[in-house]
Symmetry: C2
Subunit: 188 residues, 2 copies
DNA sequence: GTTTAGATATATCAAATTGATATATCGCTT
DNA sequence: AAGCGATATATCAATTTGATATATCTAAAC
């Protein structure tokens, strides 16, 4: 059973690029990968302590401790890099989704079609906003695509864009079917 | 804080349609909604006890207890139906995704492009299989679309199909870019 | 100059969830 | 009669969330 902490891979992956504090890690997750992965302080800080004990990360040397505010910058070790690589190389991956919107749509038969139509509209609006952000992101990335790691970031962003575009197309179809259902109901 | 159990809505939604045991609920989740929502026995059984205490479900009258194997069939109450409806009517919804595949792709720069290409291929294969199943599902549903609840089931299935189709399109683009990156590397 | 608001930084906790394991019965085949 | 897979419930450690608490630093506002 033991060793099932997904957050470890996120932390090691981010630290493989640069030294970070727990707070920095949270910011990175929220900024760069939140559209397909989330993480909270409550999992990050305990995981950092645990990774340190396992020797996969170490506290980075502090420059100028003088009067500096207390913070713990972490750095990945060679063992950490190996662990990360081992995870990357097993191409199997668990993709777990929890779409509360779809759950509401699935159970829509319990309420009037208008209720589900509202759920679809809310989902559509949220998706439009997310899509707008990701497109901005992509436009910026395309200017620097030649640089080493940017291809990989670009790939995840285009995944998000393709997905969101498909969601929006579906939203329009779904809304049309629900309006039809609402119409049939009222004209009986 | 309290009352944050998403599994409650799944259970109530399923019970709104028919009486079920905890085991039945697990089977329903696995069969009908697993492509966008999962649930384990470890959350279902405790939730059923809790919902019973809150008066949202009751143990259904057993027919022919004679020699029948022990099982607990649950039934939704009027209060349960109201609770479910209240949840449906607030169109806000939390959609939480955990794509381990994308996480591996995001951190792909640490390994050779071939490693990420393998991850994309594995994701593509899994998606193709899922898509095949959902298309079968849709074909069967289209024959009975006139029936009450089937529209809502159909909507979630088409959501899955549209998403998976978009994933596959992206997989091909991603594979092409990764092959190019691998080629540039070897010809330096 | 000082209050105040927002960002930085870490820690902790109850509640929810996962994934595994344990236990036992039933129905079917060998 | 043995064995296997499905039915059925329960439990537990480990993980994760989301909230809350605490404290400092920075910059703007007054």
């Amino acid at each position: 059973m033991g060793k099932d902490r997904k957050i470890d891979h996120v932390i090691l992956g981010l630290l493989a690029h640069e030294n970070l504090t727990g707070y920095d890690i949270k910011k990175m997750i929220d900024g760069a990968i939140s559209f397909f992965w989330k993480g909270s302080f409550g999992s990050i800080y305990p995981a950092l302590l645990s990774l340190e004990q396992e020797g996969l990360v170490v506290r980075a040397a502090e420059e100028g401790t003088e009067g500096a505010r207390e913070k713990t910058v972490y750095s990945i070790t060679e063992a950490g890099r190996q662990s990360l690589l081992a995870w990357l190389e097993q191409s199997k991956a668990a993709n777990d989704l929890k779409y509360e919107s779809l759950l509401k749509i699935f159970f829509g038969g319990i309420a009037e079609p208008e209720v589900t139509l509202k759920t679809v509209r809310a989902f559509e609006k949220e998706t439009e906003e997310n899509l707008k952000l990701l497109r901005l992101c992509r436009d910026n990335l395309e200017k620097v695509l030649d640089q080493k790691d940017h291809l990989y970031y670009y790939l995840t962003v285009t995944f998000g864009i393709r997905s969101y575009e498909a969601y929006l197309k579906w939203c329009r179809e779904a809304a049309a079917l629900l309006k039809k259902a609402a119409g049939e109901k009222s004209s009986r």
